[in-house]
């Protein structure tokens, strides 16, 4: 489902003397449908950079990232937008939403964008919010004023609302209590069972051991010169 080939990345800081920082070299791995792969490595090893490149958020310097028939490394913006709508979901650590939009609508949006009916989308959103223990009285409010943990759970509900064939999870269990952590791990297991290919960063080792089929050390892709 996800195929990464000879991927490299460097940052050029034009306004700081043109410093070039190579951050990744020769990254290559595959993730099959129904498989969950954990990215490991110390801070700065390039786990988040890799995730962002998979999502098309960071531009690849060279190499290929094939997800569902699209090469993210070379695709037009329009193709990446289509991929993100239909195929590739991303649960980031930060919730970014338009102010004033209700939590229920935020969660239902990925379903509406893929042509699901409003009532079905909202029913799914309600179910997820309830499972993630977001009190019903908050559903009509914008999540911008929520606590960190609540925002994180809204983000997860949104990421799992639509059944993406491929999912990227950036610390999905961070800042969650034991009950909610369990709910999230079950969601991940359900997604695997329906055949989703998942790449995740989990600092929570117990969670990683439970859901990941194998791990990839991002440090293996760190260029020698900067290591």
């Amino acid at each position: 489902m996800i195929q990464v080939e000879n991927l490299s990345k460097s940052f050029t800081l034009h306004n700081q003397g043109g410093t070039v920082i190579p951050v990744m070299e020769g990254a290559a791995f595959d993730v099959a449908a129904g498989e969950c792969v954990g990215l490991i490595g110390a801070s700065g090893a390039g786990k988040s950079t890799l995730m962002r490149m998979l999502y098309g958020n960071y531009l690849a310097a060279s190499g290929h990232i094939r997800i569902g028939g699209v090469d993210v490394a070379t695709a037009e913006p329009r193709e990446i937008l289509g991929l993100r709508r239909e195929t590739l979901g991303y649960v980031s650590q930060f919730l970014r939403v338009v102010p004033r939009v209700s939590t229920l609508d935020v969660v239902a949006e990925p379903l509406l964008r893929t042509g699901h009916a409003l009532d079905a989308a909202q029913a799914r959103a309600r179910d997820l919010l309830a499972r993630l223990n977001i009190p019903e009285r908050l559903w009509g409010l914008s999540p911008t004023t929520f606590s960190g943990g609540e925002q994180q759970r809204v983000n997860i509900a949104r990421g799992f609302a639509y059944d993406y064939p491929a999912l990227l999870l950036d610390e999905p269990t961070a800042s969650l209590d034991a009950t909610n952590r369990e709910v999230v791990l079950t969601l991940i297991e359900d997604a695997k069972a329906r055949g989703a290919a998942i790449v995740g960063i989990f600092h929570d080792e117990a969670a990683r051991d439970r859901v990941c089929d194998r791990v990839i050390d991002a440090a293996a892709f760190t260029p020698r010169s900067s290591a």
């Binding site: 940052f11 050029t12 800081l13 034009h14 306004n15 962002r52 098309g56 958020n57 960071y58 531009l59 913006p77 329009r78 990446i80 937008l81 970014r96 338009v98 102010p99 004033r100 939009v101 509406l112 964008r113």
Partner: protein
């Protein structure tokens, strides 16, 4: 899929000075593109060239017309271009008073555009106007008030209603949230996003506010001194800018 708008090598010069030059891109149905850059970078000049308000000195602006497919709007006859401006296109000005008739009632402002495309039944025009005022969150009891009696944010929403009432397919926006305070901006952004999705609109938004494009635009074009220096997915350009100028622009935003 046919692009809704196909721009090729557009240039506009003011004497020896460059307004904008060598601009090319395709915009597909349902896409929202942001154009950012500092004052004087040529973004408004470009928008006006695209919308037919200025005649470019070079290049083609092809629009996918309902009847004849892609047509170059630069070489099109003036009446045809004006018809597009009333039907398939909409233009939201930064200053609502440039896009509204200030001495005509709110309902009249919305109804006028309907009449320009042939609506004649007073009752149904008024009903449509009332419906649209509601959609942009203006109370129905303000329908007979003139925009001069409206706040800046209300005027801007009225301008949007006037523009969208005829169901355009492409909306040009020049700093739509400029000069509004942040709470009003948020409300307007929410409204615009909802309308864009419901109506399947394509839009080109010129702004210098990076937060606005992040929330509204799928794609971004960065301009400097009349040239396009960078294009790409909005979040990619903002999070991993490649060009020196874009890096400066992104790193200059003040954190709240």
């Amino acid at each position: 899929m046919t692009p809704l708008l196909q721009v090729e090598g557009v240039a506009k010069f003011y004497g020896a000075r460059v307004g904008c030059t060598d601009v090319s891109f395709d915009l597909y149905p349902g896409e929202v593109m942001g154009i950012v850059g500092e004052s004087g970078s040529g973004k408004s000049t470009l928008l006006n060239c695209l919308a037919g308000h200025l005649t470019p000195d070079a290049g083609a602006v092809r629009f996918d017309t309902k009847t004849d497919g892609l047509r170059d709007t630069v070489t099109m006859r003036e009446p045809e271009r004006r018809m597009l401006g009333r039907t398939d296109w909409a233009f939201v000005h930064q200053h609502a008073r440039d896009g509204l008739r200030m001495n005509v009632s709110a309902g009249g402002n919305v109804g006028e555009r309907l009449m320009a495309v042939g609506a004649r039944h007073y009752g149904s025009i008024r009903d449509t106007a009332t419906d649209w005022l509601g959609r942009v969150e203006i109370n129905a009891d303000r329908i007979d008030d003139r925009p001069t009696a409206f706040s800046g944010g209300m005027q801007q929403r009225l301008q949007i209603a006037r523009n969208l009432v005829t169901g355009p397919r492409l909306v040009f926006m020049d700093e739509p949230t400029g000069g509004l305070d942040v709470s009003v901006q948020a409300r307007l952004l929410d409204l615009l996003r909802g309308l864009v999705r419901e109506m399947g609109l394509s839009a080109i938004i010129v702004t210098h506010d990076l937060a606005v494009v992040r929330l509204l635009a799928d794609r971004l074009m960065v301009m400097k001194d009349g040239h396009v220096v960078e294009t790409g997915l909005t979040d990619q350009v903002l999070d991993d800018p490649q060009h020196a100028y874009t890096q400066l622009l992104v790193s200059s935003v003040l954190q709240v």
